[in-house]
Symmetry: C2
Subunit: 315 residues, 2 copies
C-alpha cells in the first residue's frame, strides 16, 4: 500500500493510494506517526479507508513529507560502491549524519536556494521508515522493524561542506599515562549546515509499505534535473544493505517508530556522463525528479530566493 500525508480542503490529512491517481482518506488513525505506531493494527484503518473512506484526486492535494516530524533522520554517508575508489582512508563500518525535521518538504514543494548557500546538489536515495522500535537488533532480525520505504532527496550544500571543516590538534588522555594529555592531529567537519538547511530534505510522495517491496537492496534509482538524467543507479550498489544499516545504527541509537534512515546516494552517472555533481542548483534549473522502482516519482521545483545574508555578528 502507498500512504501519504497532505493538505486537503483546509486540513492536514493522511490517505492511501487507490486507483493510481486517487487517495482514500484515513480518518480514524490520527497522523502518519500515529498510524505507524499502531503497527499491524493500522491495517484495519487503512482497509476501512479503502473500502469506505472518502476518495479524492491526487491532483487536489498539497503534499507533505509522509512523516512530517520524524524523531530523527539518519543519513548514511558514502554508501555507494561507486565512491569507494575515491576513498583514501575510510571507516570499515557505516558512518552517518543527522538531518532535522525542519529541513523536510513534500512532493512538488519547492527546494529554496539562496546565493550565499554556495554550490548545492541533489542526492537521490532510498529511505527506510522505521516501524517497531529498534535497539540492539542483529542484521538478520532488522527487517521486522521496517514499516516501509520512500524516496528521499538528500540535498547537499557541497559549497558549505567545504567551509565547515576543522584541521586541529585534538586532546586525548595518554593511553599509558591517563593523567597526561596528548595531542592528535585530526580533521573534523560538521554537517548540520550543509545537510540540514531548510528544504534540503525532500521526501515522498508516498510511504510504500514493506510488504510490497520484496528486496529493497535491488531497486533501480534514477534522477533527472530539468531534462537531463544525472543518475542511473541501483540500491544493489550500496556497500551496506538496509538490514545492516538498521542493525548498525541500533547498536548506538534507538530507532523509534517514524524515524527515517536514508541509505546513501545512488549517484552513478547517466549514460551521457552527467552526474549529480553537475547539477549545481545555483546554475541548473529544476525540477529535480527521482524515480525508484516500486516507489514512484518524487519531483520538486527549484527556486532561487533573493535573500542576502543578514547581520549575525553583534559588532
Amino acid at each position: 500500500m502507498k500512504l501519504a500525508s497532505f493538505h486537503y480542503d483546509g486540513a492536514d490529512r493522511i490517505g492511501v493510494l487507490k486507483n493510481h491517481d486517487e487517495l482514500a482518506l484515513i480518518d480514524s488513525a490520527g497522523d502518519m506517526t500515529d498510524l505507524i505506531g499502531l503497527g499491524r493494527y493500522g491495517d484495519e484503518h487503512i482497509n476501512h479507508a479503502l473500502e469506505n473512506g472518502d476518495v479524492i484526486n491526487c491532483g487536489d492535494v498539497r503534499w507533505h513529507p509522509p512523516v512530517r516530524r520524524p524523531g530523527k533522520i539518519c543519513g548514511v554517508a558514502m554508501n555507494n560502491s561507486a565512491s569507494n575508489e575515491r576513498k583514501i582512508s575510510a571507516p570499515d563500518h557505516p558512518a552517518f549524519f543527522l538531518k532535522p525535521s525542519s529541513s523536510l518538504v513534500g512532493h512538488n514543494e519547492p527546494v529554496k536556494i539562496r546565493t550565499y548557500y554556495g554550490s548545492v546538489h541533489p542526492e537521490p536515495e532510498l529511505a527506510v521508515v522505521i516501524g517497531r522500535t529498534a535497539r540492539d537488533v542483529d542484521a538478520t532480525d532488522a527487517m521486522a522493524h521496517v514499516f516501509g520505504y520512500s524516496i528521499f532527496n538528500d540535498i547537499t550544500g557541497n559549497g558549505m561542506r567545504a567551509e565547515d571543516m576543522f584541521h586541529y590538534w585534538a586532546l586525548y588522555a595518554d593511553e599509558k599515562n591517563p593523567d597526561e594529555l596528548q595531542r592528535r592531529e585530526q580533521h573534523l567537519s560538521y554537517a548540520a549546515r550543509y545537510k540540514g538547511t531548510d528544504t534540503f530534505a525532500c521526501m515522498g510522495p508516498f510511504i510504500t509499505t514493506a510488504d510490497e517491496i520484496s528486496n529493497p537492496d535491488a531497486l533501480d534509482v534514477s534522477c533527472k534535473v530539468g531534462d537531463e538524467t544525472i543518475a542511473e543507479d541501483s540500491t544493489r550498489y550500496y556497500n551496506y544493505k538496509v538490514a545492516e544499516l538498521i542493525s548498525f545504527i541500533s547498536q548506538f541509537q534507538t530507532l523509534e517508530s517514524g524515524d527515517i534512515v536514508s541509505c546513501g546516494t545512488a549517484f552513478k552517472p547517466s549514460k551521457d556522463r552527467k552526474s549529480i555533481h553537475h547539477a549545481n542548483f545555483q546554475r541548473v534549473a529544476g525540477p529535480v525528479e527521482i524515480t525508484i522502482s516500486g516507489l514512484g516519482t518524487l519531483s520538486n521545483p527549484v527556486q532561487i530566493e533573493d535573500k542576502a545574508m543578514g547581520q549575525w555578528r553583534l559588532s
Copy 2:
C-alpha cells in the same frame, strides 16, 4: 522561573520550582513544548500553578529532560576560545552538528556506556531553549526568540569520533567548465554516532526563563566527575555569543519553538589541571555534575553496560 518535566505519581507532568525544593504542578498547559508554544500566555498557567497548583517535593520525581522531544538539538562545535590555539585551520563562522531527541536523558538519569563505544567524555555547556520561531533573524533581534536556558552535557565519544573520518577525493563541477568534474582532496567526518548515541545528551534539571538571566554570555560553568573538578570556565569565553549563534543558524535553518541550541563546551581545565579529556567514562566513575550560575546543577550517574556489539553484517 524554573520549569521542569518529570514523572510523578504514575504520570508525566510539568511544573515550576517553588521554595527551592518543591514543584508546583502545571496542569492546564499540556507538556513543556505546548507551554513554550504559548509564549507570554504561558505565564498565566505558570502563575496559576504557583498560586493554586498542587505542590510536590523535588525528591519525589523522576526527572525528564525539560523538553522531551525537541524538533532539533543544534550543538555548536569548538566555540571556546581556549581551543583556538589548537586550530590549524577553521571556518570564520559557527559550525554545528545535530543530536537526536532519542539521545536525551534528564537530571539524575544514568549515562550508559558500553565498552565498544571506546573513549567517552563529558562536555559542559549552556543550552538555549528557543521560544518564538526564528528564521532570518539579525543578531540584534535574536534574544527575543529565547524562551530560556538549561544545562546541557554534550557527551562525546571521542573514540568513535576518531573512527568516523573519511579522507577522500570529492567531486565538484569545474568552476570554468561546469560540464567537467574536478577532484578535490577533502577530510570529512560524521558526528551522528559519536554525538548522538543513546544517553549522550543530559539536560536539566530546569529551564530557567530568559527574564531571570540578564546576561547569558557571562555565566560561570563548572564540571565535576566523581570528586574531581574537571572544568572551571565561563560562557564569556565563547567565541560566538548566544545572539550570534541564533542569528547564524537561523539564516540556514528555521529554529522552532522548543528547539535547543547548545552553545559549545566550557572546558577550561580546573586549577589542578584536570580537564574533560581526562574524564574518560570507561575508566573514571561518575557521577558527572555540571553547575551553571543561575541555572542550578545537573547531575548524572554513569553506568557501564555489559553489552557486546551484535552481528550487524548479514554474512
